[in-house]
């Protein structure tokens, strides 16, 4: 089974595991804190806001994303090339069963990111920021359900 790979780097625990924002006890090794400066500091926050004003563009683009939207469809055309699902004459890639170990590993691997380093946390935040469609679930659902 091909692991998605997106989170391989993020799964390597490194650095401190104490709760962010709580000063570590005296006597423990001090954790690094990266403040940056000079160049513009990238945003370290993602916000869940009330629905934005509904514009035609946001309604059309609105989707409730499924993990890994960056991956292309993997239906196989007669000549063996990869094409979008639903293409005439193409069929889905041959499915395979997962082993119990693969299932357990995926279940364990996805549940939490233990002790991610600063870079990993920031990369992670950037990744989840991209999951936002720009509209809240409220607007998204309403726009998907009603014909216009």
């Amino acid at each position: 089974m091909k692991d998605s790979g997106n989170h391989e780097a993020l799964d390597q625990g490194a650095g401190a595991t104490e709760t962010p924002g709580k000063a570590p006890d005296a006597g423990l090794a001090r954790r690094k804190l990266l403040l940056g400066g000079g160049a513009v500091v990238a945003s370290a926050a993602v916000s869940i806001r009330p629905a934005l004003a509904q514009t035609a563009a946001s309604v059309l683009n609105c989707q409730i994303p499924v993990p890994d939207p960056s991956r292309a469809g993997q239906h196989i055309a007669a000549d063996g090339s990869l094409v979008a699902p639903g293409t005439e004459g193409a069929f889905p890639g041959s499915g395979r069963a997962f082993t119990g170990e693969e299932v357990r590993a995926a279940l364990r691997g996805g549940r939490t990111l233990p002790g991610a380093s600063y870079e990993q946390s920031r990369a992670y935040l950037n990744y989840i920021r991209r999951l936002q469609s720009g509209t809240s679930g409220f607007t998204c659902y309403a726009s998907l359900q009603m014909p216009r």
Partner: protein, 288 residues
């Protein structure tokens, strides 16, 4: 309005009114096994209204109205009246429900625990839930999963399953009783649609909650692949999939955090239903 019926679905109740008889007759027939509305008072009203002057009679088309409405929705053909009523009920829930955290997801229960499946249209979550309902699981819903704001339990909202396009044939191959299928509505704004009445046990136990045990992000039409989804990612995806997270404020914040913190999340790509069901069986067996 001239014709109306009242429906009790999970914890919610609706009054559907219509100047035309056909959609109400269809609802009465398909929801025949559902319990009556206690107290005779509905939570929400849905009204099918003639769209524009004279549209009651001349080329009748329907505007969906009710306690909660969307102003710029396009009208629908009278022959799609049943779909309009279902969409009207979904809209009331999506825009008005505050008693639970509402996630746009399907769900099914086994051994007192719930599997929740969420994703975009075409992910197959409705069809998968319907299929699970026919092979040993209790169908809990195909549109909304309701998360209790205090206990975190999942509550059932088992309205008619909305089957689209190819899924109709898939379920006709599995469910042999023709009476469980509503009329085929062709060329609706969402494609060909037919409704499937949930199994008897789903209706009988629609007030029984279940503890969430697994969150799945299915995706139909891809080579089979399974990966874990981390908590932060699941949290943000669910805020996108929830119609009332923001409106619920602090209660929604706690409920969603608790859900994501305690329920493992996986993404499953699959090429056909059997593959997905086999993967779900495996996941269910090793769930903690």
């Amino acid at each position: 309005m001239k014709h109306s019926c009242m429906l009790s679905i999970g914890p919610a109740s609706f009054r559907i009114g219509s100047p035309w008889r056909a959609p109400i007759d269809a609802l009465r027939e398909l929801y025949a096994a559902y319990p009556p509305v206690k107290s005779g008072i509905a939570d929400y009203t849905v009204r099918l209204e003639p769209a524009g002057t004279g549209r009651r009679w001349f080329r009748p088309s329907i505007a969906i109205a009710g306690d909660h409405m969307l102003a710029d929705a396009a009208p629908m053909a009278l022959r799609h009246g049943l779909l309009a009523a279902e969409m009207g009920m979904n809209l009331q829930m999506a825009l008005g429900w505050r008693r639970h955290l509402l996630i746009h997801a399907s769900s099914a229960e086994k051994d007192g625990q719930a599997l929740i499946m969420t994703g975009e249209s075409g992910s197959g979550k409705s069809t998968l839930a319907a299929m699970l309902g026919e092979c040993g699981w209790r169908f809990m819903g195909d549109e909304f999963a309701l998360i209790d704001l205090v206990t975190g339990s999942i509550h059932s909202f088992p309205r008619l399953v909305s089957l689209k396009n190819a899924a109709i044939d898939v379920m006709r191959g599995i469910v042999k009783a023709p009476a469980r299928f509503g009329p085929l509505m062709e060329a609706t704004p969402k494609g060909d649609i037919a409704h499937l009445v949930p199994p008897a046990d789903a209706i009988l136990h629609m007030r029984d909650p279940a503890e969430p045990a697994l969150l799945l992000f299915p995706r139909f039409g891809f080579a089979s692949e399974l990966r874990g989804v981390s908590k932060g990612e699941a949290f943000v995806r669910l805020t996108q999939a929830s119609t009332n997270y923001v409106a619920l404020g602090e209660a929604g914040f706690h409920a969603l955090h608790h859900f994501v913190d305690t329920v493992p999340a996986m993404a499953l790509d699959y090429a056909n239903g059997e593959e997905a069901l086999a993967a779900i069986d495996q996941l269910w067996e090793v769930r903690s």
